[in-house]
Symmetry: C2
Subunit: 110 residues, 2 copies
DNA sequence: TGACATACCTAGAATCACTAGGTATATTAT
DNA sequence: ATAATATACCTAGTGATTCTAGGTATGTCA
């Protein structure tokens, strides 16, 4: 389909970083919390996506020590990433609206 | 993710058949119309999905001659398929709601 | 000290949708 | 008449996305 390929993981990750810098593990926890545990992202899904976003200049990574003494890798949304997020969010709205429109054509589904 | 795997093509196809029996080509045209051309499903996507749904007993196929004299293969939603559609539609609502909830956490996206 | 949570990572498999072809008939334009 | 387009079905192979299933290592709590 045209624009079937909304990368949901990418969209959700970018939207998390729009609010504040986060590290990977935190994103997984936050995403679960904000979605009422509808999304339980796997590490095997998240980390490759983060690396891809970094390669594309959508996010920048930096290391920072946690109060516990552990090393964390934080990600920051770049200006380019912010613009991309806007596009992806708009694409999602369009996509979700279209699905809803199709479902509404069949009574008893919505 | 948990329930990341909503098969969008399957959901849309089943919802089309909830209204009336349709043949493949018609589904592509109807889906484009109902989604304001957001969805332009490819034949290479649709037909394998239809065959899969038939194999699983979600739809039943029958041949019927069109007024033009051409042979068409119509698909009919079975009771099992109807129940499955209800589940998938509910899963979609939950999924879409969760995405919206996450996006709403970041101002300026919704 | 053993279990669990935190925190990062990758290789390979599975799923889903697409590309790019194929076949064939009906309609419309030249 | 015939060429182009629309209708109508199909499949093999490819690419993209996400998952499974591991690995490494540190911190916390019972």
């Amino acid at each position: 389909m045209k624009r079937q390929n909304i990368d949901h993981t990418q969209l959700l990750v970018l939207s998390l970083l729009a609010g504040e810098d986060m590290y990977g593990y935190q994103m997984i926890v936050e995403l679960a919390r904000r979605s009422d545990h509808t999304f339980e992202m796997k590490e095997g899904t998240l980390y490759p996506v983060l690396h891809g976003l970094e390669r594309q200049g959508m996010v920048e990574a930096y290391e920072q020590e946690a109060p516990t003494g552990r090393q964390r890798k934080y990600y920051h949304l770049t200006r380019k990433g912010g613009a991309f997020l806007q596009e992806e969010a708009a694409a999602w709205q369009k996509y979700a609206g279209a699905v809803s429109a199709v479902l509404r054509c069949s009574p008893g589904l919505v």
